[in-house]
């Protein structure tokens, strides 16, 4: 190694030293090729090929590796070199494993009674790679499978030994914006909390107004009381929000300007029909929706401070 090379993959260099070394020598299949294991395989795969059953059955060629598997009782014939390699990878934090490639060649079919023997060589150990799963090393092995000395198949297998990438916890979904409640509009929001839609009424001239204001637009009188809206209304106008997306909202959605039966107008969502079915003149009725605490808005994560909002649902049979 030249001293001037920056950022050498030191573990990778050591790992590459395992290329060409034996991973398993004179391994023997734990069971001879047999009909029960073939049948179990075919059941699992849904493979009804008649060639895999009956007195002249052959094993599905793709079972090649299965005959060499160690199962719960462990691998056979495995060399110290392979265990060392795995140990080094584990020590480098690459404790997880996933198979990425399998290339098999079948020279002749395996039949019940065939006693399988195999030798495995470590063909290649990659440099350190970054994958979606995490960073790690690809290890390629080649296994030659023999029956009574005759080569019956080869099996090239590639695994990724990797350190799992830390999974970011899903970001909590942003909360819907909260209303700014002040001295002038607190009564409206108290009404909403109690599922009542309250309209301000001038104590002097009786003019209704919304949104809530400190004084009357018509006569300037600061005194007022309220009337409860029936909740009936129609879509006076609307827009459909496509872009830009605001946190906590899923565009596209319709924002309606609702003409209440009492004569005032207010802005809210129109629900109960797809956004593109909202039309001017649609009859609607108020509905109080709870957002947040119980995740009813799909928002979740709001915990305390659930929000109740008046929205307008299209009256049944319309839209």
């Amino acid at each position: 190694m030249s001293a001037g090379v920056p950022e050498t993959d030191e573990p990778g260099v050591r790992l590459a030293g395992y290329e060409g070394r034996a991973a398993a020598v004179a391994g023997v299949g734990k069971d001879p090729v047999n009909l029960p294991m073939i049948r179990h395989w075919c059941e699992a795969m849904g493979d009804t090929n008649p060639g895999y059953a009956g007195p002249d059955a052959v094993a599905p060629p793709t079972m090649l590796q299965a005959w060499t598997m160690g199962g719960l009782s462990g691998h056979v014939g495995r060399t110290g070199a392979y265990d060392e390699l795995v140990g080094l990878l584990d020590a480098a934090g690459c404790t997880s494993v996933v198979a990425t490639d399998c290339e098999q060649e079948y020279l002749r079919p395996l039949r019940p009674g065939d006693e399988v023997a195999f030798d495995t060589v470590i063909e290649a150990v990659s440099e350190r790679k970054t994958t979606k799963l995490g960073t790690g090393y690809f290890v390629t092995t080649r296994t030659d499978v023999r029956v009574a000395g005759e080569l019956v198949g080869t099996h090239r297998f590639r695994i990724l030994k990797y350190a799992p990438a830390r999974r970011e916890p899903p970001a909590p979904r942003p909360r819907r914006p909260r209303p700014v409640v002040n001295r002038d509009n607190a009564g409206f929001w108290e009404g909403v909390a109690g599922h009542r839609l309250l309209i301000q009424r001038c104590a002097e001239c009786g003019t209704l107004r919304h949104p809530w204001l400190p004084g009357c637009n018509a006569c300037g009188c600061p005194e007022w009381d309220t009337v409860e809206a029936s909740g009936e209304g129609t879509v006076h106008s609307y827009v459909v929000m496509h872009h830009p997306p605001f946190p906590a909202f899923d565009p596209p959605y319709a924002v309606g300007l609702i003409q209440l039966a009492e004569g005032v107008r207010m802005v809210s969502n129109v629900v109960g029909v797809p956004y593109d079915k909202v039309r001017i003149g649609l009859p609607v009725r108020v509905e109080f929706r709870r957002y947040g605490a119980d995740g009813a808005d799909g928002g979740g994560g709001d915990g305390e401070g659930a929000l109740v909002l008046p929205v307008f649902r299209v009256v049944e049979g319309e839209g």
Binding site: M37, H40, W41, E43, A44, M45, G46, D47, N49, P50, G51, P60, P61, T62, M63, Q65, A66, M69, G70, G71, L72, S96, V97, V98, A99, T100, D101, C102, E103, Q104, E105, Y106, P109, S126, K129, T130, T131, K132, L133, G134, F138, L160, P164, A165, R167
Partner: protein, 167 residues
């Protein structure tokens, strides 16, 4: 038996798709039938600890399903010569994998024909498997037109860069 004569292979022909519902049962049954007791193929809790959202199908099962797809299509006389697969998007329970195939190359020989089939298994999150299968079809002739598309076979190999899951 006429019914056992393999379908005539033709370069460019598409195999009918095969839908495989990826059930938890299939994943576990396939893992055990292939004697693969890695916990990520049967224990969801341990799979999650290792960074996977759920258990996932093992490569031996995928290999078996790809082999089945080919022999289902060409019939029981078809002989698999080579199966080379690469895994990408994992097969998680509840997904469906749709296997599709396209004959990329046909070579006539004394016993029939040998076809190379490019296979893709797509699931809801991407390509679970890509690969090629070489299969010999005893008694099959080369239908007219075969070989008229030189070069189609050349690009049929695994065409993703090493490390299919590399980002």
């Amino acid at each position: 038996m006429a019914s056992e004569v393999a379908a005539e292979p033709r370069v460019g022909a598409e195999l009918p798709p095969l839908e495989i519902p990826v059930t938890r049962t299939l994943i576990v049954a396939g893992a055990i039938a292939s004697r693969d007791y890695q916990d990520v193929h049967h224990d969801a809790e341990l799979a999650r600890q290792k960074g996977s959202p759920d258990i996932f199908m093992n490569i031996l099962t995928t290999n078996g399903l790809v082999g089945r797809y080919i022999t289902d299509h060409f019939g029981p006389t078809a002989v698999l010569r080579k199966v080379a697969i690469r895994l990408g998007a994992p097969n998680y329970p509840g997904d469906t994998m749709v296997l599709t195939g396209r004959i990329e190359d046909v070579v006539e020989d004394d016993d029939g024909a040998t076809a190379t089939v490019r296979v893709v298994g797509a699931n809801g999150i991407g390509r679970h498997v890509t690969g090629t299968v070489t299969v010999t079809l005893p008694g099959a002739g080369v239908s007219p037109g075969a070989g008229e598309s030189p070069g189609t076979g050349a690009s049929s190999g695994v065409d993703i860069s090493p490390g299919g899951c590399a980002s």
